[in-house]
């Protein structure tokens, strides 16, 4: 379970996240939506113990992120938006390295687990290649393998499906659904609203660091008064495009 209580992050004079509270329950996928720079990644980085909250607190499976961050990390898996991985390792070496850090017992069972996820994500052929040769999509896939290998109960995914081919995206979706079925707590941010609409049990929309709407799709529709799709709800809450500027641009360019 993830419990964020009044999380706030201030950089110098800039308030990146403002008094953010939400809860993600076991067996639930929670989508965090918001425009670029709205504070999604900062929120995730606070939950991961990478950034100190200026105020507020959070608990991951009951572990306070300020006091028991190592215990909290032990149950978490994370896939960043742009994974930066050790380029001089091969895919297999990297996964084994991460498995050792997480104290996953060595042996055939671990090998089989790694092989199984790599097969699912269609990257087992590249396991012996150096990571520096990986494409963006492959880096994300190998990051997902690393995030899953210690069987986390809480998963934090930042724009997981960006840059992934359709087959890979479908596989990832199945994996996430499977994990949800097994009771995992999943927090994901995405810009692909269709994915959020289809996959997430609940959605939180943040803008300029503040939670402006939260709930299931039905609840959001009610709040947005008649807007039916998530895109319409999102745009009505965060502000749509400036149609006048677009028309002006098209008029001048075409």
């Amino acid at each position: 379970m993830i419990e964020a209580m009044g999380l706030t992050k201030v950089f110098n004079e800039f308030i990146a996240v403002r008094n953010l509270s939400f809860q993600v329950n076991p067996g639930e996928i929670y989508g965090l939506l918001g425009p670029n720079g709205s504070g999604k990644s900062t929120t995730m980085r606070m939950l991961l113990g990478l950034l100190q909250p200026t105020a507020g607190s959070a608990r991951i499976s009951g572990h306070d992120i300020r006091e028991e961050i190592v215990d909290a990390k032990r149950v978490m898996g994370y896939v960043p938006e742009e994974p930066v991985l050790p380029e001089r390792l091969t895919g297999w070496e990297y996964i084994n390295y991460i498995s050792d850090i997480w104290r996953v017992p060595r042996g055939p069972e671990r090998e089989e687990d790694i092989q199984e996820i790599m097969n699912l994500l269609d990257i087992s052929d590249a396991g012996d290649d150096l990571i520096e040769t990986y494409s963006k999509g492959m880096s994300r896939k190998i990051s997902l393998v690393a995030a899953l290998i210690h069987k986390p109960t809480v998963l934090i995914l930042d724009e997981l499906q960006a840059g992934i081919d359709p087959r890979g995206a479908a596989t990832m979706k199945e994996i996430l659904n499977g994990l949800r079925g097994r009771g995992a707590t999943i927090l994901m941010s995405t810009h692909i609203l269709e994915i959020a609409e289809r996959m997430c049990d609940r959605i939180g929309i943040i803008n300029e660091g503040e939670m402006i709407a939260e709930g299931t799709m039905t609840e959001l529709r009610t709040k947005a008064k008649g807007q039916s799709s998530l895109e319409e709800i999102f745009l009505s809450l965060t502000g749509g495009p400036d149609m006048q500027l677009i028309a002006q641009y098209l008029g001048e360019s075409v």
Partner: protein, 572 residues
């Protein structure tokens, strides 16, 4: 903090850095055996040579060596304290840049290992890398002397040296890291101060190390002025050779064991104190690094500043040619991009503009060292120093900067840019700097030897064209052997090696061929003038200019064609 986590990280980091076998994967580029074993063989060869030299020479002079060491047990204090100083200065920015670029090790920071353990491990790796060069020379030296020494415990001087050197470097690296973090904290979010400060510090570092070389050279050849005498006096008066310094303790313990000097309790106490100090400082460094990262106080300027709703109006961008020159849009855009991307980073621009002084100084030194002994040719030495500037500017602005285009090459390829012109723009971007350097050197030469004025216009013109030839050769080598994924980063992170933009023989050719052309051409011209009359210099000048221009057009064309055909996997 878990020691098993620390040991695990250290083991992985070191084994990863010293991979001997190629990765098995099909997509991975295989590296030759030589390049894989080179990093191991160089220290072994150097160490072996030092050991052989000591074993061959020391037995003949052992009595002399023994009595000298016995009477001056603290003689290594200045050397060891200098090691401490070097590791301190060299590490000032490393902690801050490591914390500042933690996104590169986020995969590690999210693991259930305390952040402070991770930062501690990175600091230990820096200590390890800092110690390699001193170990490479010191260990065989002590080993050789201890074999020659008749004293029973002489061999213990080797582990004593290793342990104490590590303590020394630990203190230096940790103190440097703490100072760097403090400075980074003070200037966080203040771009102008950061840029100016970086430029000044880089310039001081370049000029300081150059003067350091000069001091060695001048000392070894004559009793002339030593620019560091005053500094040494100051260091002495500050107690740099004091018995209270870590360097003194290293010296007295390791050398004492070599010549069987009796142990004193004060030395044991000093060793213990410095050991505790080293451990304390390295732990403090990792704690402060953790705080710097976790609290976000080293966050970038963009992250720290509020977004303001200001709509800016930009006029149509139109890079202009230099007055009097008619250049195409692609050439001017390339020049603008090259100069802009360099000047926005104070460290880069300082290193580019002043960096060649490191090479040039070796040519000026004989003039300084021998003074009047070289009679009238001192000016020629100073003129010779101009060549590294002209060639290096070409190398940096056209060679390195072409490599640092990186993924931008994709834009250029997609836009079907005439890459010959683009490369030419890069070459031309170096020219103003070469002209300025030529004029400055010419003024210096005029002061030293006014009669040489007749040659100076020819030298300025020759160096301008030499710079272009050098740039085009470097660009061609960059297109052939550049690492288009390399970062333009002079700021090293902990444990990271410097990424060279040009690799292997391409790097050698890009540096040495322009040197050969420059010295043969410029000094050929001057020699002709000295031997047959100044008119001959000006008669040869057009030939040299034409030759350089021919090289420029030939190699910019080759480089342009190569870059146009470069595969996307090379830069993506």
């Amino acid at each position: 903090m878990s020691s098993s986590d620390l040991l695990f990280l250290l083991r992985e980091d070191i084994t990863r850095s010293f991979r001997l076998r190629n990765a098995k994967g099909k997509r991975t580029e295989k590296r030759g055996l030589l390049s894989r074993v080179l990093k191991f063989s160089i220290p072994v060869i150097v160490g072996g040579a030092v050991l052989w030299g000591v074993l061959a020479i020391a037995p003949m002079f052992w009595d002399l060596i023994e009595s000298f060491i016995s009477e001056n047990l603290g003689m290594g204090a200045a050397i060891f304290n200098a090691v401490l100083l070097f590791s301190f200065i060299g590490s000032i920015m490393i902690s801050a840049t490591t914390v500042g670029s933690t996104s590169k090790m986020e995969y590690l920071l999210i693991t259930p290992i305390k952040m402070r353990t991770i930062f501690l491990e990175k600091t230990i790796i820096v200590i390890f890398y800092n110690s390699i060069i001193w170990m490479m020379i010191g260990v065989p030296l002590f080993l050789g002397l201890s074999i020659v020494s008749p004293f029973a415990f002489a061999l213990l001087s080797v582990p004593a040296f290793i342990v104490m050197l590590l303590i020394l470097i630990t203190i230096g690296v940790s103190a440097g890291g703490l100072v760097g973090l403090g400075v980074a904290r003070a200037v966080a979010g203040r771009r102008a101060i950061k840029q100016i400060g970086t430029a000044i510090m880089s310039a001081v570092a370049i000029i300081g190390t150059t003067l350091w070389y000069v001091s060695f050279y001048t000392n070894s050849w004559n009793d002339g002025p030593n620019p560091f005498d005053a500094l040494f006096d100051l260091a002495n008066s500050l107690g740099f050779t004091s018995i209270l310094t870590p360097g003194y303790t290293v010296s007295i313990v390791s050398l004492g064991l070599l010549v069987g000097a009796p142990w004193r309790w004060q030395d044991l106490l000093s060793v213990s104190l410095f050991l505790v100090l080293g451990i304390g400082m390295v732990l403090l460094n990792s704690y402060v690094s953790e705080m710097a990262h976790y609290s976000g106080w080293l966050a970038s300027d963009a992250t720290r500043t509020s977004k303001e709703e200001i709509r800016k109006e930009h006029g149509t961008w139109n890079p202009r040619s230099f007055p009097g020159l008619k250049l195409s849009n692609i050439v001017t855009a390339s020049m603008w991009f090259s100069i802009t991307s360099v000047r926005r980073d104070a460290r880069v621009i300082t290193n580019y503009l002043l960096g060649p002084i490191r090479f040039a100084i070796w040519l000026v030194i004989p003039g300084l060292a021998f003074g009047e002994g070289f009679g009238g040719i001192t000016s020629y030495f100073i003129l010779a120093a101009l060549i590294p500037f002209a060639t290096s500017y070409g190398l940096y602005f056209a060679g390195y900067e072409l490599v640092y285009e990186g993924t931008n090459i994709m834009n250029l390829q997609l836009a079907a840019t005439n890459l010959e012109e683009y490369v030419r723009g890069k070459v031309y971007s170096a020219v103003p700097f070469a002209i300025i350097a030529s004029i400055i050197v010419s003024i210096i030469v005029l002061f030293i030897s006014p009669l040489m004025w007749v040659y100076l216009p020819a030298v300025i013109v020759a160096c301008t064209f030499l710079c272009m030839a050098s740039g085009s050769i470097a660009a061609n080598e960059a297109a052939k052997g550049g690492d288009f994924k390399a970062d333009r980063s002079f700021a090293r992170r902990r444990g990271a090696s410097i990424q060279m933009p040009l690799r292997g023989w391409s790097s050698v050719r890009a540096s040495l061929v322009p040197y050969a052309i420059g010295y043969a051409g410029v000094f050929g011209m001057i020699l002709a003038g000295v031997l047959f009359g100044v008119l001959y210099t000006y008669a040869i000048l057009p030939v040299f200019v034409l030759f350089c221009w021919r090289l420029t057009t030939h190699y910019t064309r080759n480089a342009g064609l190569r870059v146009a055909q470069i595969d996307a996997t090379k830069y993506l």
